[in-house]
Symmetry: C2
Subunit: 419 residues, 2 copies
Amino acid sequence: VYTYKTLVWGLDGIDVQELSIAGVAGLECSAGSLGIKRDHSPDAAAFVLPRKSAYAGVFTSNVFRSACVDSALTRLHAGKEIRAVLITSGNANAGTGIAGRADTEMMAAAVGEELGCPADEVVVLHTGVIGVPLGAQRLLPALAPLLAARSADPEAGQAAAQAMMTTDTVSKTVVRNVDLGGGVQGTIGGVAKGAGMIHPRLATMLSVIVTDIPVGSSALQLALTQAVKTSFNAISVDGDTSPNDSVILLSCPSDATVSSPLAPGTQAFTTFCAGLTEVCEELARMIVRDGEGATKFLEIVVTGAESDADADRVAVTIATSPLVKTAFYGEDFNPGRIISAIGRSGAAFDLAQVRMQIGGLAVFADGMFLRVDSESAREVMSRTDIVIEVALGTGVGRCRFYTCDLTDGYVRINAEYTT
Amino acid sequence: VYTYKTLVWGLDGIDVQELSIAGVAGLECSAGSLGIKRDHSPDAAAFVLPRKSAYAGVFTSNVFRSACVDSALTRLHAGKEIRAVLITSGNANAGTGIAGRADTEMMAAAVGEELGCPADEVVVLHTGVIGVPLGAQRLLPALAPLLAARSADPEAGQAAAQAMMTTDTVSKTVVRNVDLGGGVQGTIGGVAKGAGMIHPRLATMLSVIVTDIPVGSSALQLALTQAVKTSFNAISVDGDTSPNDSVILLSCPSDATVSSPLAPGTQAFTTFCAGLTEVCEELARMIVRDGEGATKFLEIVVTGAESDADADRVAVTIATSPLVKTAFYGEDFNPGRIISAIGRSGAAFDLAQVRMQIGGLAVFADGMFLRVDSESAREVMSRTDIVIEVALGTGVGRCRFYTCDLTDGYVRINAEYTT
């Protein structure tokens, strides 16, 4: 069960400001300016592990994708182990052709040179304005001091999480301890950025997650793909996807943790997957909660669909309907807009079997809207967190999805930038 | 070729205020208050033909649909001819169960009684708030005076077009003369309402079109289904559909027009279809131009797709992207957002073959963004009407689609109503 406190204050009630990914699995972090942003504000975050580590990744499904995604996928498909991740913001290096790919590789090579490892053990991710040449050459001199300043101190992790921020209003870090049984403990820590799905200057959703739990690369990919389904793939701010969306997971076991990699099918692997899913879902909810202009956090639970895919269709249609999202912004109790969205979703169902609750209030059954007293409706709509439950009454397909309201703040943020 | 003048001033440069559907095919119109709206502003428009007429209709594809759509479909499927259409606004009669269906039929019967025809020769359409009982009984007394006041005067047609308006800011009438050859002339006249796809109080897109050109009901349905494809099905304000969307077409030939119905395959029928398509497209563009909060009219032309369906996918994804729509509102020249939308559309294409123009400026080719001088970009974005041309370079599929920008005006209109 999701609680507000968990999201805002970090897991277990710990103030999110005190959380840091630095130190997890021996991770060293650094933040600084490479000169991409003209005002010299931080535009780079480095994440360096003590040794090369099993690597899993999930990337944007957009056909139009950044050179950095191509570069990261090449390493993934070649089964490479990864020592470091460099994230830069201010320029997405997307729609920049082969020169763009060369720019990304040049930066990876420069990082590798500093760390004493090959370029293909470094993943470089970019976020920012689309279609402008990155010009990596002029950025290289600042890489050495950036990497030299790296540290496992908590402040270094917080600075790195902040350097990733763009239209984000808060940095997003989740650290979770996992009890693998037999007295063995492990840790999973992640950072993420993302506020609107694309922003004219500084775009996209990015996340880096590290763990000291030993997992081989194919099992790691399995775990990440599963975890992303119910987390980063179950959120929408505006329905748009970017050419740069990336989630990177690295496993770097220390000597203190169990020595042999966890095997799929074991209880310990299942526990790891559960912990990873919690970290991803927590980061994903933080992204929605910090959605551009958002004032409400909406959780959509669809059950009883003919298939999970149908449940997904219903949830996504509700979550991306401008009419539903503006009604919540206006605190207008308007179940008709939600039923209309369900009706056009393309999912198979019989309207007479559909039941719906908003914030626990039953609003639709037997093909008709139920009478709701206006005081209860007002109370539900005044909440910051509202759950919409749709039971289709057809099968066993289900989906849980998160979104935010659509506000004039969103329109302003996305209309007022001029590139 | 679409021109601004045509839309705003009516066809052939005639001031739209002077256009009226009344008199077309002998149509008599009337507008008044039935007492649905508490402020007694006009909430009903009646359209009465001299005799029962061939009937075609296209309705919302939403699974959740108003009782009035069920009622209109029953008549259509039974091959009924129609004497009159009554449109009421203020209450959508949707999600109101069997009582709702009885309400619609009760009103049809009352109209039929006044006109001396059976209830199933009357189509009643509703628009307005969803999920509230209509309570037709109390509305019946006002029907007789409404129908008694009907007239073929131009002012009566204008009053009826205005009584249909909800969040619309201008009424929408198109009248088109068609030369059928052999010295035979015909007329097609239509009215429409629609501004956002659903609005909390007064919802949906509705259109009534009448013609004195003789067309049998099955040929009429063929012509309407085709015409709707490139008009009412090629527009989006917010991507939402309502339970009430309806387009009604009635053919009521006078003695002066050719006596036998036009047969599909003949030149005259083709000419009729072309005229009907022009009327529908004109009304559809008027709806977009009057979109809730809209400040820009965007025409999206996709060519070179693998199929028409793929072209449609690309156009709809661009037209419903909040990021694309807010960029145009902000006059931010942002081709990256459009390419990102194309990339997630699901259409099959090779990014390297894609070419794109915005307002005639080439912005993308060979997988890369082209340099555009900022003065030209500024000039294009300052226009009220902007054409986005996407050539996918894959096949011969094509699509033309119309949308508007997304503004804080839209958010305000849809958030500030409380039901």
